[in-house]
């Protein structure tokens, strides 16, 4: 595995705040790396340093062999950037197509391939029929898709996406994720994806780094992290009849759950190692003649997970 992005002791201080605090990290070529953290954790600042927009206070970032301080022009020409609040970063005085054409030329995309590249991206992101309109007339979702197209216009080796789906509705988020996923399939482009959404990381990322208060807390595969920090999981079951009391007793009698409660028309229980225990619970219920409509996990809110990550470190 070749290293694509190498951060060593990266620190960025503003007047009073240490926004990024001694972050060291290797991102491999071709992977989708999730940079997960709550608001103000330092994600955007890290990306801005990587994109040579901010100068690190200490430490370094090397991208595909180019140092952000020594070779900023080379760095900028091989990376793509979807900045934070990307949807609001277009020239409203140019059409969407002209926006892409302008950036394509600033990124030195050869003129004979630029038109094809723009059409391909617009097609893929379902923007073709609106390409001659000003982005001012676009919805936030369309604007964000245009920002994504812009960040990929020069087919960059490394793409930094800062909160690509924030401010998008669920359907648009899904489309954007599908697009990123398709782009990442080739395995030659590296993606560095900032997000505060655990679900996004799990859907897209090969590996994830948790950042909190400027510090990199943990790096690993999403599954591993989940297992490590989020062992006690909560499930709820819905049954056809209202025989909740009896079902609750059955679950309790298996001795597998840490807790069992009845909430409205559902049974809610907590357990560890759901992969092996849930099938046993379901079997017990079915064998006692209970009809299960739904069994689903209650995904805890992210704060709870962060609390664990930070607390456990």
């Amino acid at each position: 595995m070749t290293t694509s992005i190498e951060m060593v002791d990266l620190t960025k201080e503003f007047a009073k705040i240490r926004a990024v605090d001694n972050v060291s990290l290797d991102v491999r070529r071709g992977e989708v790396f999730g940079f997960l953290g709550p608001n103000a954790a330092g994600k955007s600042t890290t990306v801005k340093v990587a994109a040579t927009l901010l100068v690190p206070s200490k430490g370094s970032i090397v991208i595909e062999g180019y140092d952000v301080l020594e070779q900023p022009v080379e760095v900028r020409s091989i990376i793509g950037l979807l900045p934070e609040d990307g949807a609001s970063t277009h020239y409203d005085r140019l059409s969407a197509y002209k926006n892409l054409e302008y950036f394509g030329r600033l990124y030195d995309v050869p003129e004979e391939t630029l038109e094809n590249r723009i059409d391909e991206l617009l097609e893929f992101l379902e923007l073709s029929d609106r390409k001659d309109d000003s982005p001012a007339t676009y919805s936030t979702g369309l604007k964000q898709k245009l920002s994504i197209a812009r960040s990929m216009i020069h087919n960059p080796q490394v793409v930094f996406l800062d909160e690509p789906t924030s401010s998008l509705d669920p359907i648009m988020s899904k489309r954007v994720r599908e697009f990123i996923d398709t782009q990442a399939e080739g395995g030659t482009q590296t993606f560095f994806l900032c997000t505060h959404l655990l679900s996004e990381v799990e859907a897209l990322c090969d590996r994830v780094g948790f950042i909190s208060k400027g510090k990199l807390v943990e790096v690993g595969r999403p599954k591993e992290l989940r297992r490590k920090f989020w062992t006690l999981r909560t499930y709820e079951i819905q049954l056809t009849d209202s025989n909740l009391q009896k079902s609750g007793e059955i679950i309790t009698s298996t001795g597998l759950a840490k807790s069992v409660k009845i909430e409205g028309s559902r049974i809610v229980f907590e357990l560890e190692n759901a992969e092996t225990k849930n099938p046993q619970i379901v079997r017990a219920l079915v064998e006692s003649g209970m009809n299960i409509i739904e069994l689903r996990e209650r995904v805890p809110d992210l704060d709870a997970v962060y609390q664990k990550v930070i607390g456990g470190n």
């Binding site: 927009l53 901010l54 100068v55 080379e74 970063t89 140019l94 950036f103 600033l106």
Partner: protein, 244 residues
Amino acid sequence: MWKKAWFMAQTEMRMVFKSRQVRMIPIIVVIMSVAFGGIMTWLMLSSGGIDAALFSVTLGSIMGAVVIMLPLMLPILIAADSIVGEKERHTLVPLLATPLTDGELLLGKFLTAMIPGLLVAYGNLALAVLVVNGVVFFMAPQFLWVWPDLLSLVQAIILPILFAILAVGLMVIISGRANTVYEAYQTGGILILPAMVFAYSGFLLGLGWLIFVIGSIIILFVDFILFRIALRLFNRDPLITRTG
């Protein structure tokens, strides 16, 4: 360096002229200087018994100031629109993320602000010369040609360039502190115009070629220093740190 900056400036000029304010300025400049020149000439000639030499010197210095100073409104407004406006409209970050060097970016912004300003300045100069001499031709044909003489003509060609660099350089420096186009334009107008008038008054005294050449070299030197300061300020880290 010039190629990229020029390409950037072409696109930016096209965008800047989508602003109604920017489109209005050339019209205002031309109307004001043509009307002013015509009326001044007419007034001076109709007061009667005017001495030819005095007439020519007075008219020349007033018109000289008008055709050099008024068109500067345009580079100041364009600089405000394309530098502070870019912050205001959140379009700066993607531009800074492109492989353009700091020098290319700044040069692009300078060209964007200066080229339309200079075109307007020279077009306006030609029109003002026609109008002033037209009025003279009809009212006092014995004066033949009153303005400009060679020195005023050279001044009216060279000084707009030197002053425009000064104005745009100052605007770049102001723009770091201003958050809206309007604010920048106001500050720019308040700071720059008096500075120009002051600088120009030296030439107005009609001290001839030597003073003009020395004065121009001094302004050129100030231009150079301002460009260097602008280059240090119009640079990714300080721009982003301030914009947040």
